[in-house]
Symmetry: C2
């Protein structure tokens, strides 16, 4: 089962922190911070969905992600590609290159990267 938007956001924090106690998580939020109970609810739901686990340390828990950001992300983008580009990654890529406003430098970096990838094949 997929994560909702807010859950995804929380996930981002977990990925960043790698592991975190409630307090650490709350720190990540900007004002107005959500209530502790809100985060607790989300963590519970995410745990149920199998995205998060924790180690109990005395009174409280150290939470950590069960899925790698890159894996989650891949699925995400692949869904996007499937939906919007008929499952064609290259179609997506070309669109992306045209429509996002990368600077010249970024584009050049990207080209280098692609060259590298080509060499690998």
């Amino acid at each position: 089962m997929k994560l909702s938007k807010t859950e995804e956001q929380l996930m981002q924090h977990l990925w960043k922190l790698e592991k975190a106690f409630m307090k650490d998580i709350l720190e990540q939020y900007n004002d107005p911070k959500p209530a502790t109970t809100t985060i607790a609810t989300l963590l519970k739901r995410m745990t149920d969905k199998g995205y998060v686990a924790y180690k109990t340390f005395g009174k409280s828990r150290e939470y950590y992600p069960l899925i790698k950001k890159s894996d989650y992300f891949s699925k995400h983008v692949n869904g996007l590609i499937k939906n919007f580009f008929n499952d064609s990654a290259s179609q997506f890529a070309s669109f992306f290159t045209r429509e996002t406003n990368l600077t010249k430098e970024e584009l050049e970096d990207l080209r280098k990267l692609i060259d590298n990838e080509i060499k690998k094949k």
Copy 2:
């Protein structure tokens, strides 16, 4: 207000058809097709959200999208980038190049494309 997943799917059909009557839309769905009323509800909601409009033709309506697929898509990807890559399109691009499995040919096409973009700058 954003479209939900199913609404987005319907939107895809509208983009493809450009304009469509209820019947045309239903055709687009695979079995088990949703009930007509379901589509009607979605269309109504989408109209309320400002994504869809229609021309009345006698008894029924010809629906059409109010937003271009590319525009919608850009926003979408930008959200993704913001969320997952700290608002850095280039970070996203490099990740994308590495993680999606484009063939050599596709990568070469992509490089050409990027070259072109670079020249434009």
